[in-house]
């Protein structure tokens, strides 16, 4: 699975970090970091993360 976050849209709400903590996190500077090629087993939580992003900045490219 391939995950792309539009960092121009991201406003660091962090909802994706709650939904999929294995894929999304905040770095020490408080900015979003993520795993671009997470394991297929994490699909449900990545889809959840994409759903709950207030800016709809997360795209899943199979």
């Amino acid at each position: 699975m391939k995950v792309v976050v539009d960092m121009n849209k991201c406003q660091d709400h962090g909802q994706c970090v709650f939904a999929a903590p294995d894929v999304f996190s905040f770095d020490d500077a408080g900015h979003l970091a993520y795993v671009p090629d997470p394991d297929e087993a994490l699909r449900d939580e990545v889809e959840e993360a994409a759903d709950v992003c207030p800016l709809q900045a997360i795209r899943i490219e199979d």
Binding site: D12, H13, D51, V52
Partner: protein, 402 residues
């Protein structure tokens, strides 16, 4: 062909309901009916980035999941009646549709002020068309803006109007402070100070009695007789549930659609409600049914309701605990953000500053019976991050009893 699941309403709740029906194993047909001519789009930026011109109207469209590619979208028409005993809905274009399952997702519309006066120049902010019209009005030279209602939308629009260079922006509300309903007085005071420092004026503790002007509005008359000159008026005075089409089915429609703890309507296993129209008991709190207008609710309710409905239609057991979402809301105004987790409104009598102070970045804790039930941060990214650190603890708390 078997009857479809009909989803009445094609905004975020309707889209998520269709997607989650597929995810929950409903392989039959799905028909989504929407009054607006547009595919589902994201509404929060309508009072912020898009109104300010920082993001395009096109950027608002949601990307539906691939699993809903075969869903039928009937846009530009609305559901005008329902017969729940016969399992049919009627559309404005005269069509009658039978359904196997019905998702109520028709949402809310803005409440309008009943005061006398001209209609032209008075705006609301709910739809894309609303925001287009308001943006055009706000970008005129030296406009004087009166915002009626100091809630989320009123405060956001006031901030955006200042950003756009409006000559005067005044927010009117009968309550003594802005957003005091969701925030309580401590943060509402801090919020007012911040708005005033950035050029927003307030007329608080007063109502609106009339609009002045002949063909279009030129002023707003307040309860004490004062008239505020106005080129643009924004009415952000709450919302009304779009439930009229459900009349005559014996449902409790007093404020939205009453549901049970699994979002089912009227004791019927084949009818569920999602989004801000659903008045549901939250098992996390006191069990009192409430409507919730937060952005997260359409997605949360759709996920639960779709599993309940799909299980019924497929003859299986959903095996779900009662619906118990952790509320969360945010609001971006000027250069600061409000970020909340939990239910601050249930703890407004015992508000404590947990971090920072109200003049800068601040995190407030809201308590009921001495226990933390919600947090709200006001300020920059650090304050929002501080609020997020309390989320896990708020999730773990046992249910509050009334």
């Amino acid at each position: 062909m078997s009857a479809p699941v009909v989803v009445a309403g094609a905004s975020l709740g309707g889209l998520r309901a269709a997607e989650q029906l597929r995810a929950a194993g409903w392989d039959g047909p799905v028909t989504v009916i929407g009054e607006e001519p547009y595919m589902p789009y994201n509404r929060p930026p309508l009072s912020k980035e898009v109104l300010a011109g920082k993001a395009s109207f096109d950027s608002l469209a949601f990307r539906p999941r691939a699993a809903v590619a075969d869903v039928e979208w009937r846009l530009g028409t609305r559901v005008v009646r329902a017969d729940l005993d016969r399992r049919t809905v009627g559309l404005a274009d005269g069509t009658t549709l039978p359904y196997a399952g019905l998702v109520v997702a028709t949402g809310m519309r803005p409440r309008r002020l009943p005061c006398p006066g001209p209609a032209a120049g008075r705006h609301t902010v709910r739809t894309l068309d609303d925001a287009r019209a308001l943006r055009e009005a706000l970008t005129g030279p030296g406009v004087r803006v009166v915002v009626v209602g100091a809630g989320f939308i009123g405060c956001e629009v006031a901030a955006t109007a200042v950003t756009l260079g409006a000559a005067e922006v005044t927010v009117v509300d009968p309550l003594p402070l802005p957003m005091t309903g969701p925030l309580g007085d401590l943060l509402a005071q801090a919020l007012r100070d911040r708005h005033e420092q950035r050029g927003v004026r307030f007329a608080l503790g007063t109502g609106v009695t009339a609009f002045h002007g002949d063909d279009r509005v030129t002023g707003v008359e307040l309860s004490d007789g004062t008239v505020l000159p106005a080129d643009v008026v924004v009415e952000s005075v709450g919302s009304v549930a779009n439930t009229e089409w459900l009349d005559g089915n014996g449902l409790d429609l007093t404020d939205g659609v009453l549901t049970d703890e699994h979002l089912r309507v009227g004791g019927r296993p084949d009818v569920v409600a999602v989004g801000d129209i659903a008045r549901f008991p939250n098992a996390r709190y006191d069990g009192v049914p409430r409507r919730v207008e937060h952005w997260s609710i359409p997605t949360d309710t759709a996920k639960h309701a779709a599993r309940v409905l799909a299980a019924h239609l497929n003859g299986t057991e959903p095996g779900l605990d009662p619906f118990a979402p952790l509320p969360t809301f945010w609001s971006d105004q000027h250069d600061f953000r409000l970020q909340s987790f939990g239910a601050p409104a249930l703890g407004k009598d015992d508000v404590r500053v947990l971090e920072g102070d109200p003049d800068g970045d601040v995190l407030a804790g809201y308590h009921a019976d001495g226990r933390l039930v919600g947090v709200v941060a006001l300020g920059g990214a650090a304050a929002a991050a501080a609020a997020a650190r309390h989320r896990a603890a708020l999730l773990k708390q046992p249910a509050l009893t009334a």
